[in-house]
């Protein structure tokens, strides 16, 4: 099953989204929060993100959800820390972090491949609420 990593500048945001996503996940599904800096401050930490990706991977790859700006840069740096096999199986979803994470988790819970999980997360951009 594809794993999901949530990268936010805030540890609380990442944990909160993870908590919501867990409501809709399959029991064995990996959803890992990578929020904030090591000292608890606001920011993104490439090392923490790479560790999260490694924990989230069960062999089928990992979809990474990001919030704003440097979350993307830190995630791209994190990719550099990964071994080649894993690097080929991780992808950032260009999607709103909460809606994307929820959609990605549900898609992954169906057993879909990484490309489908990313496509569903990105589809959440146009999800109407009203």
């Amino acid at each position: 099953m594809v794993g999901v990593v949530i990268v936010s500048h805030s540890q609380k945001v990442a944990e909160g989204i993870r908590e919501m996503a867990l409501q809709m996940s399959a029991p064995e599904q990996k959803i890992i929060a990578a929020g904030g800096m090591a000292d608890g401050g606001i920011g993104t930490d490439a090392f923490q993100v790479s560790e999260a990706i490694i924990s989230a991977n069960t062999g089928d790859g990992v979809a990474v959800m990001v919030d704003l700006g440097s979350a993307v840069l830190s995630t791209e740096t994190a990719f550099e820390f990964l071994d080649e096999d894993l690097r080929a199986k991780v992808q950032i979803a260009d999607a709103p972090i909460l809606e994307g994470a929820i959609s990605a988790v549900v898609e992954a819970s169906l057993g879909s491949a990484l490309a489908a999980v990313i496509a569903t997360a990105e589809g959440a951009r146009t999800l109407n609420k009203m």
């Binding site: 809709m24 959609s103 549900v106 169906l110 589809g123």
Partner: protein, 88 residues
């Protein structure tokens, strides 16, 4: 093809968690699943499609299933909706 009419009775409607439960249940069957409501049709195995339907409490929907396990699939989805997705 099997077709059933059901009313959504749980308070939050077919949104978020119930939508996820619906899609996850539908995906355990081989049959194609469609939801028809408000002149719209959604793929019952697509979370985005189901959430986009915006189905609220008391919405009347038609579920069509087509495939070798369509009857079991139809029954399982109907039971889940009637049990209000375990909300209360």
């Amino acid at each position: 093809m099997t077709e059933i009419q059901v009313t959504i009775t749980n308070v939050s409607g077919l949104h978020a968690r119930p939508a996820a439960q619906f899609v996850q249940k539908a995906a355990t069957f081989k049959s194609k699943v469609k939801i028809v409501a408000n002149n719209k049709v959604a793929d019952g195995k697509s979370i985005l499609a189901v959430m986009s339907m915006g189905l609220k409490q008391n919405a009347q929907i038609t579920i069509t299933t087509e495939g070798e396990d369509e009857k079991e699939c139809s029954k399982a989805l109907e039971d889940m909706i009637k049990s209000k997705f375990g909300e209360e």
